[in-house]
Symmetry: C2
Subunit: 414 residues, 2 copies
C-alpha cells in the first residue's frame, strides 16, 4: 500500500510556515509498512484541491488530507474531496448536535457558521473529534481510501490513531520491524565507512543514517512479506552487528534526546552535575534544563564569557590565561575544577572555544574547542577543531561535552 499526504491551508504556503502533520503521520504509517510516496501542500483553493485529490487517488491506495475542515468559507476540504470523487455532500443534523454540545461545554452558544461542519461526503464514516469541533471523514473506497482529518495536531493525532488502527493498518500486507540506534563522537562519513560493508549486504532491512551536528541516528527498517519472525530476526541481526562495530560511540535505542539520556544516567547513579560554559554561552545549560526533572541532578553553571569572570568566579589562574590563553586545555581544566568546587557537584564540566566568525588567533583557528570533565576519580580533557558556522560549532561542542560525560560514566560509574 502506497500513500500520498495532502496538507490544506494557504497559511502553510506563506512565509516561514511549514506543515508538520506529515511527520507524525509518516512515522505511524512506516511502523505498519506503508510508505509515503509524496506529500503535497495546497492552499485554500477549491479547484487546486479537487485536482490534487483526484490525481492523488489515481496514484496511491491511501490519500490522507489534513486541514480545511473548519467552519469558514476558506475551509474547502469537504467540498474539494466531494468534487474530486464525484460524490454528493449531505447535511447531517446529528453532527450539529455534537458540535453544539462542544460549545455548550465551553459555555458558548454555537455560531451558525459551524453548521457547515455537518456536511458529510456520501458513503463516508464520520470520525468524532474529541478535542475540537471539526469531525473527520473516512471513505473506504475500493481502489483508494481517503481520510480527511482536522489540521490542529492535537485534534488530528488521536483521530488518526483511532481510524488507522481500526481500518487502515489491517490492510497493509507488509510486515515491519524497525530499530533506531543513536551514536555520538563520530561523524557521518566515519559512520558510513565503518558500517557500509555491513548494511550494503542487506536489501532488507533498509538502512538510513541521519546526521545532525555531533549526533548520529541509524534507522533500520525491515519491510517484508515474509514471516514477522524472519523479518524481525534479520533486522535485529543487522542492528546488533552495527552496535558491535560502533560500540564505542553507542548511546541508546530509546526515543530520547542526548541530554535526556545523560540526565537519566546521572539520576540513576545519584550524581550531580555543574557546568562552566564559555563559547557555548549557556547552550548546554539550556538543553539540560529543557529536560523535566533535571533540577534533581543539575546544580547550576556559570557562563564565563569574559576572562574576568573566569578568574573571579571559577578561579582560573591569571598566569594560565596569559600563558596558555582562554581557549586552552589548561583553562578548560581550571574552569571544570572551579565550577565543581563552587557547586560542590560530583562532576564539573567546562567548554571554552572559538565559535567564530571572529576570534581566531595565530595557531588557534575558528572551531577550536577545549573541553574538560572533572570528578573525584578522573580528570579528562579533550581538544577538537569543529567545522561549521557559529551555531553549529556551539551545538557540536555541547554534544561533545555530553559525550565526555557519557564516556566517564561508562568507564568509572558503570
Amino acid at each position: 500500500m502506497r500513500a500520498i499526504f495532502i496538507a490544506v491551508g494557504s497559511e502553510l504556503l506563506e512565509l516561514d510556515r511549514i506543515d508538520t502533520n506529515s511527520l507524525f503521520i509518516s512515522r505511524k504509517l512506516r511502523e505498519k509498512g506503508i510508505l509515503m510516496d509524496m506529500k503535497i501542500t495546497v492552499g485554500d483553493n477549491l479547484e487546486n484541491l479537487s485536482w490534487t485529490i483526484k490525481n492523488a487517488c489515481k496514484r496511491a491506495q491511501l490519500v490522507i488530507v489534513t486541514g480545511g475542515l473548519g467552519p469558514t468559507e476558506d475551509d474547502i476540504t469537504r467540498e474539494g474531496t466531494a468534487n474530486a470523487l464525484k460524490k454528493k455532500l449531505t447535511f447531517k443534523e446529528e453532527i450539529v448536535s455534537g458540535i453544539r454540545a462542544v460549545f455548550q461545554k465551553r459555555g458558548i452558544k454555537m455560531p451558525d457558521i459551524n453548521t457547515r461542519q455537518a456536511f458529510v461526503i456520501e458513503g463516508a464514516e464520520v470520525l468524532p473529534n474529541s478535542v475540537g469541533t471539526a469531525p473527520g471523514q473516512y471513505l473506504d473506497e475500493k481502489d483508494c481510501k481517503v481520510l480527511l482529518l482536522p489540521g490542529p495536531p492535537r485534534e488530528m493525532q488521536p483521530m488518526f490513531e483511532d481510524i488507522f488502527a481500526r481500518k487502515i493498518a489491517p490492510l497493509s500486507n507488509f510486515l515491519m520491524a524497525s530499530r533506531s540506534l543513536k551514536f555520538a563522537g563520530i561523524t557521518e562519513s566515519e559512520t558510513d565507512s565503518m558500517i557500509a560493508d555491513l548494511y550494503r549486504k542487506y536489501k532488507n532491512p533498509h538502512t538510513t543514517i541521519l546526521a545532525s551536528p555531533g549526533f548520529i541516528e541509524i534507522h533500520l527498517l525491515g519491510r517484508s512479506k515474509k514471516s514477522p519472525e524472519e523479518n524481525k530476526a534479520i533486522t535485529d541481526q543487522l542492528a546488533e552487528k552495527i552496535k558491535t562495530r560502533l560500540a564505542d560511540y553507542f548511546i541508546t535505542e530509546k526515543d530520547i534526546t542526548f541530554e535526556e539520556h545523560i540526565i537519566q544516567l546521572l539520576s540513576t547513579r545519584n550524581l550531580t552535575l555543574s557546568i562552566a560554559e564559555s563559547c557555548t554561552g549557556g547552550g548546554l545549560g539550556n538543553r539540560i534544563t529543557n529536560v523535566p526533572g533535571s533540577s534533581e541532578v543539575f546544580l547550576g553553571g556559570v557562563i564565563a564569557y569574559s576572562n574576568e569572570l573566569k578568574m573571579k568566579i571559577l578561579g582560573v589562574k591569571k598566569g594560565t590565561l596569559e600563558k596558555k590563553g582562554a581557549v586552552s586545555e589548561q583553562t578548560a581544566l581550571e574552569m571544570a575544577t572551579g565550577i565543581r568546587r563552587l557547586c560542590q557537584s560530583d562532576i564539573g564540566v567546562a567548554i571554552t572555544g572559538i565559535a567564530g566568525p571572529g576570534g581566531a588567533t595565530q595557531g588557534k583557528p575558528v572551531g577550536l574547542v577545549c573541553l574538560h570533565l572533572s570528578s573525584e576519580e578522573a580528570e579528562q580533557g579533550v581538544q577538537k577543531i569543529f567545522t561549521g558556522d557559529r551555531q553549529i560549532v556551539k551545538i557540536r561542542s555541547e554534544n561533545c561535552c555530553l559525550n565526555l560525560i557519557r564516556q566517564y560514566l561508562h568507564r568509572y560509574q558503570n
Copy 2:
C-alpha cells in the same frame, strides 16, 4: 504568474526530515508578486517525478524543482524532467571540464560517475554551480518555465538568486510592496483585537500575523497591478497605522532576531550586560551568544539553578529565599543586582520561575516567572504567569526579559 515548487529526494519523505528550500524560494517569489500555489515533496522515483512535473506544468507558469541533480543513480531530476517535457538529454563535454576543475581545486580526481551531471535537457540554459558540482538548468518554455536547482541550500540559493533576477522576476506583472513589523510584550489575540479594525478595511495589502511564544510578526503584502507608487503608498499607510496603534510593543522592521536587536541597541550605546538565569537555565545566554560579536556587550552569566548558588554567587539573602521563596520578585531583584555587581556590567537582568511540569506550590502555579532589570538609573521588576509547556515557558521568559531590556533602553538610554 503562479508557481509550483517540487522538492525531490526520498530522504525528505523519511522520518523527521522536511524540505526547507521552499521557504527560501517562496519568500523570494513573494517579493516579486509571484505566489506559490502548491508545494510537493516526491521521492527518488522516476515515474512519480515525471508525472508530478508534467502535471505541475499544466497548472502553473513556473515550476521550480530542487534536488536530484547529483551524480548517483538515485539522482533522477534530469531524466524525470526530460521525460515529462518529452525532450532529449544531451551530453555536454564542457560541463565535465567544469566539474573536473572543481575536484582538482579540492585536490581530488573526479570520479567517473560525475559525468552523469553533464547531461542537459534540450533547449535548457546551464546554470553554473559556484559552490558544488551539480549544475542547474533553466527551461524558458512558452507556457511554463521550469527551473532545476541542486538540493543543498548553499548551492541552491546563489544559483536561484541569479537566474531569478535575470530571467524570472522581470516576467511578473504584479507590483509588490511589503512591510514586516516585529513586536513583543503582546499576545496574538491582543494584537489582533487591537488592529483588526485597521487591516480589515484593506483588501490590499494582505495582512498576516505570525505569532511565536512572546514574539509577534506582522507582515503586510501589497500586491497589485496599479502603479508602484500607489501600491507602496497604501502598504506604507497601513504599516504606519499599525505601528502607531502598537507603538508600545514595536521592536524593529529589520530582518533580525530579538536578541540581535537588543545586542545592536546595547552596542551602539556602549552598554554591557550580564544575566542571572534560574528557570531558563542558560536559554537566554545561549540566544545572546548566538549573535556574532555579542562578546563586546555580554560579559557573562550565572545559571543559578539551586538555592545554594543563588546565595553563594549572587548574594541572594537566605531570609529572602525563606520568606519570599526562590520564585519571587524580591529574589529576582537580588539576583539581578547580584549579577550586575559580580560582572560590573551596566545592566544586570534576572529570571526566576517555575517552568513546569513539576515545581508548583500553594499560590505559585507552573508558569509563574519573576524578572528583574538592575541598572544605575532604574530597578524594574515584572511578574508574569505564562502558559505552555516547559520549553514554551522558557522561551516566553527569555523574550519577556529581552523586552524588559528594550523598554529600559527606550526610557532611559534613548
